[in-house]
Symmetry: C2
Subunit: 126 residues, 2 copies
DNA sequence: GAGTTCATGTTATATTATAACCTATCTTGC
DNA sequence: GCAAGATAGGTTATAATATAACATGAACTC
């Protein structure tokens, strides 16, 4: 099931909701309910092979080489595509800021909404 | 209505779900439905006086002096309290990273989950 | 006062996520 | 082989979050 879910997510460049994944997998297997999908997603996220885009309530396959990294997402509000980046510098600085008050960081959520290069050039072709 | 919602959020240190706010306000006015709350929250967020914690699906009153800033949240997984910080350095760096591919950032979501100083010292009082 | 705007009320429903319990399969040591 | 435990997944139901669509009423405009 995890493999199926991962395959569906990888076939897409854009994030998918859990129910979109469910519908896609139902094509072949009509007896498929939300808990199955959410369980697979939870395991994949645990393993770092899928990320949840908190601000979109949606999921994407990880595109990085080594898992277990802190992902930084750029989310285009026009076309919905997502880029995944990594920056030690940001995560270190972020841990430092949060840690100033004695806070012990465990998980980082970094998402940037905006417009991707393609959509910008389309909108203002001057 | 916005004032009522803001007052409810300010009375709490921890984030509240929209339905918690709704229940609180229903104490005085039983004819109150979700759209009313969500509308008030949307307006308050628009004005920068409330933030939505994307990874918690919850809302907090802004604690900063000037609104319109980029908030950085530290969220304690033990006690649920939230600290709000600001860092030009991080937002600049984040815009730079996202912008490398021509992406135009518009809105930043930065949330750090972990354990606050108080809860840490409770857990390991050695 | 008719026309407009704006905030809110009202009803219904969409979307996202999980609880609780059941069943099949596998594995492991005996 | 087979009981005991572990794991994955199925099934049913429901919780929690959020929005669509339309109605009402007050306030302001001319
Ligand atoms: Zn990744
Ligand atoms: Zn785009
Ligand atoms: Zn703020
Ligand atoms: Zn704490």
């Amino acid at each position: 099931m995890q493999a199926d879910v991962l395959a569906v997510l990888r076939r897409r460049d854009a994030p998918m909701s859990a129910y979109e994944v469910l519908d896609r997998l139902r094509d072949g297997n009509s007896r498929l309910a939300p808990p199955t999908i959410y369980r697979a997603l939870a395991a994949l996220i645990e393993g770092g092979r899928v990320h949840r885009l908190e601000s979109l309530k949606a999921f994407v396959a990880c595109k990085c080489e080594q898992h277990g990294h802190v992902p930084i997402f750029s989310i285009c509000k026009e076309c919905g595509t997502v880029e995944e980046a990594v920056s030690r510098r940001i995560t270190n600085e972020l841990s430092r800021i949060a840690g100033q008050s004695g806070f012990a960081p465990a998980r980082h959520v970094i998402e940037v909404h905006g417009q991707c290069a393609r959509c910008e050039s389309k909108e203002a072709p001057a």
